[in-house]
C-alpha cells in the first residue's frame, strides 16, 4: 500500500528516509508528523529509527542497506554508528566503509539479492557490499546516468526506473535483477525516482505531489496490492498490463 507524505513541506521523501524489509531509518524533523506516519504503518513489524548521518538529515541518500546489513559512509560519527548498532536488530550488520564517493544511497541501489552500483566505485567497496549485504554486485548505468541509486528504486518484487530508459536497457536490467521493471516518474513527473520514493516488499512511501497515475504504476510494479482480495487485483492487473508495456 503506497502512502503519500511530506517531510517539512518537501516531497522528496526518499532523501530523508531509508526503508528496508528489516528496519526503517528516518531523519529528525521539526515536527513529528513524518516519523509518526512511518510509525503508524510499520511500528508493529519493523523498528523505525530516528537518526542523522554525518550530522546531516539526508539519511536516505547517505546510506545503503537491505535486511542483511547497512553500509554507512566514512563521515558517520561514532555516536551515530553506536546508536544505529544499538537500535537495529542483531542480524543486521552495520558497517562503516571508506569510500571516496560518500553518498552511498546515490551510488548503490539494492534489494536482498542483487545490487547495482556506480561504475566508478572502488574494488574494495564492491567486495564489502557483496560481503555485508550478501548480494551480487553489478556496475551499471541507468538511462546514461551513473548515479544508479538516484534514478531507480527496486525491491524483491519489482522496480521503477528513470522514464528515459530505453526498451533494450530495461530488458537488460530486468534480466540482471530478475524482477519486473517499469520506466516511470514520481512526484508529478520528476525523474529522480530514488529521491521521491522509498519502498520495501509490502509498502511504499512517496511524495505528496505524486499523481494518481504514478501511484497506480508504483502499486502495480511493486505488487503492493497483494493484501487486497484477489479478484480485484486480477482485474486491475489485466487492464494495467495493456497500458504500460
Amino acid at each position: 500500500m503506497a502512502t503519500r507524505l511530506q517531510f517539512e513541506n518537501n516531497c522528496e521523501v526518499g532523501v530523508f528516509s531509508k526503508l528496508t524489509n528489516a528496519y526503517c531509518l528516518v531523519a529528525i524533523g521539526g515536527s513529528e508528523s513524518f516519523y509518526s506516519t512511518f510509525e503508524a504503518e510499520l511500528a508493529d513489524v519493523i523498528p523505525v529509527v530516528k537518526t542523522s548521518i554525518a550530522g546531516s538529515r539526508i539519511v536516505g541518500r547517505m546510506c545503503a542497506g537491505n535486511k542483511k546489513g547497512l553500509l554507512l559512509p566514512h563521515t558517520t560519527t561514532d555516536q551515530e554508528l553506536q546508536h544505529l548498532r544499538n537500535s537495529l536488530p542483531d542480524q543486521v550488520v552495520v558497517q562503516r566503509i571508506e569510500e571516496r564517493l560518500s553518498a552511498l544511497g546515490n551510488c548503490i541501489a539494492c534489494n536482498d539479492h542483487v545490487a547495482l552500483t556506480h561504475p566508478d566505485l572502488d574494488r574494495e567497496t564492491e567486495e564489502m557490499i557483496a560481503d555485508v549485504l550478501g548480494v551480487e554486485v553489478f556496475r551499471q548505468t541507468i538511462a546514461g546516468n551513473i548515479l544508479v541509486g538516484s534514478y531507480c528504486q527496486f525491491s524483491n518484487r519489482g522496480g521503477l526506473v528513470h522514464p528515459h530508459t530505453s526498451v533494450e536497457d530495461l530488458d537488460e536490467l530486468s534480466t540482471l535483477l530478475q524482477v519486473p521493471l517499469v520506466a516511470g516518474t514520481v512526484n508529478r513527473g520528476s525523474e529522480v525516482i530514488g529521491a521521491g520514493l522509498t519502498v520495501n516488499d509490502w509498502t511504499a512511501f512517496c511524495g505528496s505531489a505524486t499523481t494518481a497515475t504514478e501511484l497506480t504504476v508504483i502499486e502495480n510494479v511493486f505488487k503492493l496490492r497483494e493484501a487486497q482480495p484477489m479478484a480485484i487485483v486480477d482485474e486491475m492487473r489485466k487492464s494495467l498490463i495493456d497500458s504500460y508495456v
Binding site: S166, E168, D169, A183, T213
Partner: protein, 508 residues
C-alpha cells in the same frame, strides 16, 4: 561520436511511460506529461497584452506610433501587421512564430491579430496561439489638422520668373519637373504672368527645388523670410520663406549682340551670336565663323545682357542657292557646316528681286528650294545699347536660324501625334492683371511640341508617352514619305495605366 570511433552501439528504442497526469502512454519528455496536460497546466500567454488601443487618422488613413510618427498603412497589409506587432509589449519573453489578421468588419473599429508563440517550459517547447484585439480610435494627425485649419497655408514659396514674352522655357521646365518628380512635395502650384509659383510646407523642400532648378537652367536666386509668429518661452520662430528665382532671358534661337567687354573676355567672339542650347549653361555660336563657347550661370549674371531679337521675330526665307565650305564644327552635340547661301524672303519671293547673300552655319541641312527661318536684320529697327557700343560693326542682312518644315506640315495635315506629354497640376491665376491670352498659349504650346519633334537633344531629359488616341490620317499615304521629323517609336514610354483592358496595348 562513439559511432564514429567505431564502437559497437546497441540500437536504443525509446520506451513509453504513462503521462503522470492523465495516464495515457506517451514518449518520455522533459516534463513527463502529455502535451494536453502540459498545455492545461501552463499558459504561456500569461502576462502578454491581449487588448491594445491604436490611433488612426481618417483623412490620410495613417496610424500613430507614439510619440509623433504617423505610418501610412492599408487594412490587412504587411505594414499594418508590422505596426500592430510593434505596439505589443513584453514580446521578448516568448518567441513569435506566426502572425496573421483575422477578418473583422471595417466599421467595427476593431482589428484582430492571431499570434502563435513558443516558450520553453519544463525543458519542453510549447506552442500556443491566441488572438489580440486592437481598438481603433479616430484621431486627426498633425499634418491633416494643419491643412484643415488653413488649406492655403504654406511655409516656403519659390517664385520662378523669366522676363520674356513667351512661355517656351516654362513648358520645357514643366516637362523636366515631371520627369524628375521634383515638385512632389509642392502643396500648390500657381501659374502667373511671366512665371510659376511653387508652394511648399517645408523650407528644405523649397531649397531642394531651387537646387534642382539650378541644375537645369541658368538661374539667379535670392531668399527672404517673413516672421509669422514667435514663441518667447521656447524661442521658436515661425517664418514664411520666399525664394525669388529668375531664369536668364536668353533662350534657344535668340540673336544676341554681346557687350564689348563680354565679347573680349570670350576671345573676341563676333558680337553677333546665336544661342544654340540652354541648360545650366548657355552655349553661344557665332554663325559666321562657327566659333562657339559656353557661359555658365554665374558668368552670365555678372554681365546680364539681353537678346537682340528673339524667336517671335523670326521671318521665313526661301533658299535659292547653297555653297558649302569645308569648315565643319561640332558644337554642343550638333554638327554645323559653314556655307554661303542666297536667300530671299518669302514675302519678297515672286514679287520683287530682293536677294541676300549671307553666311550661315546650316550648310548641312539646307539645299536649294528649302525654307528656313531667320532674323531679318535688313528690315529690323533695333535700339540696343550694346549694338551702339560696337563702332564700325557691319550688320549682315539676315541671320538664318533653323530649317522650316512649315509647308510640308501643312501638306501632311496631321492633326494628332503619336506621342503626348503629361502636364503639371497648375492653378491658373484668372485675375485681369495676371491673365494670359489663351490662344497665344495654345499656339506657343504647339510650337513647343514642334520644337520637340525637330530636336532630339531637347527630348533627352523629357518623358514622352504613347498616345492611345492616335489615329493615323488617311492622307498619310498620299504625300511623300517622312520628310517631316517625328519622334521615333523607341523613344516613347508606356503610360502607366491601371485598367485591365488597356494592358494589351502597352508598347515601349
Amino acid at each position: 561520436m562513439a559511432e564514429q570511433a567505431g564502437m559497437f552501439m546497441v540500437h536504443q528504442t525509446v520506451g513509453s511511460v504513462l503521462c503522470c497526469k492523465c495516464g495515457i502512454p506517451m514518449q518520455p519528455n522533459a516534463a513527463n506529461m502529455c502535451v494536453n496536460c502540459l498545455r492545461s497546466e501552463e499558459d504561456i500567454t500569461e502576462g502578454l497584452q491581449k487588448h491594445v488601443i491604436i490611433m488612426h487618422c481618417p483623412e490620410c488613413s495613417c496610424y500613430l506610433q507614439p510619440p509623433k510618427t504617423w505610418i501610412k498603412a492599408e487594412l490587412e497589409s504587411k505594414e499594418l501587421l508590422q505596426f500592430c506587432l510593434k505596439r505589443l509589449k513584453n514580446m521578448n519573453k516568448v518567441r513569435l512564430v506566426h502572425a496573421e489578421f483575422v477578418w473583422t468588419e471595417p466599421h467595427s473599429k476593431r482589428l484582430k491579430v492571431k499570434l502563435s508563440v513558443q516558450k520553453e517550459v519544463h525543458g519542453a517547447i510549447l506552442e500556443q496561439s491566441y488572438v489580440v484585439e486592437y481598438v481603433v480610435q479616430d484621431y486627426m494627425c498633425t499634418s491633416c489638422s494643419r491643412i484643415q485649419a488653413n488649406p492655403d497655408q504654406w511655409v516656403a514659396c519659390v517664385q520662378l520668373r523669366q522676363h520674356v514674352s513667351h512661355r517656351r522655357t516654362f513648358f520645357y521646365i514643366e516637362q523636366l519637373i515631371l520627369t524628375h518628380d521634383a515638385a512632389s512635395h509642392a502643396i500648390n502650384i500657381k501659374q502667373v504672368n511671366q512665371g510659376i509659383d511653387f508652394f511648399f510646407s517645408n523650407r528644405s523642400h523649397a531649397v531642394k527645388f531651387v537646387e534642382f532648378l539650378g541644375k537645369v537652367a541658368p538661374i539667379n536666386h535670392r531668399h527672404d523670410k517673413q516672421l509669422v509668429s514667435h514663441d518667447p518661452k521656447s524661442n521658436d520662430y515661425n517664418y514664411k520663406h520666399t525664394f525669388s528665382v529668375e531664369i536668364c532671358p536668353i533662350c534657344r534661337e535668340d540673336l544676341i549682340c554681346l557687350p564689348p567687354k563680354v565679347a573680349l573676355s570670350l576671345g573676341n567672339l563676333g558680337p553677333l551670336v546665336i544661342c544654340t542650347k540652354v541648360s545650366n549653361s548657355i552655349t553661344l555660336l557665332d554663325p559666321f565663323t562657327l566659333r562657339h563657347c559656353s557661359l555658365d550661370a554665374a558668368q552670365y549674371w555678372r554681365t546680364s545682357f539681353k537678346p537682340l531679337l528673339s524667336s517671335r521675330q523670326l521671318v521665313e526665307y526661301i533658299v535659292l542657292d547653297v555653297e558649302t565650305s569645308n569648315i565643319e564644327v561640332n558644337a554642343g552635340g550638333s554638327k554645323y557646316v559653314l556655307a554661303e547661301v542666297e536667300v530671299a524672303r518669302v514675302c519678297d519671293f515672286g514679287k520683287n528681286d530682293q536677294i541676300f547673300r549671307i553666311r550661315t552655319h546650316l550648310g548641312r541641312l539646307l539645299s536649294p528650294g528649302d525654307f528656313a527661318l531667320g532674323y531679318d536684320l535688313y528690315a529690323a529697327n533695333t535700339n540696343d545699347i550694346d549694338l551702339d557700343k560696337h563702332r564700325g560693326l557691319a550688320l549682315p542682312e539676315a541671320v538664318l536660324i533653323k530649317k522650316s518644315y512649315e509647308e510640308k506640315r501643312q501638306r501632311k495635315h496631321r492633326k494628332n501625334r503619336l506621342w503626348k506629354l503629361k502636364s503639371l497640376n497648375m492653378e491658373v491665376d484668372n485675375t485681369t492683371k495676371g491673365r494670359v491670352d489663351e490662344q497665344k498659349m495654345n499656339s506657343e504650346y504647339e510650337q513647343f511640341l514642334r520644337d520637340l519633334e525637330e530636336n532630339p537633344e531637347l527630348r533627352f531629359n523629357i518623358s514622352l508617352y504613347h498616345n492611345r488616341d492616335y489615329q493615323p490620317s488617311e492622307m498619310a499615304s498620299v504625300t511623300d514619305g517622312g520628310d517631316v521629323p517625328s519622334v521615333p517609336l523607341e523613344e516613347l514610354l508606356a503610360d502607366l495605366d491601371l485598367s485591365d483592358e488597356d494592358m494589351e496595348d502597352v508598347e515601349e
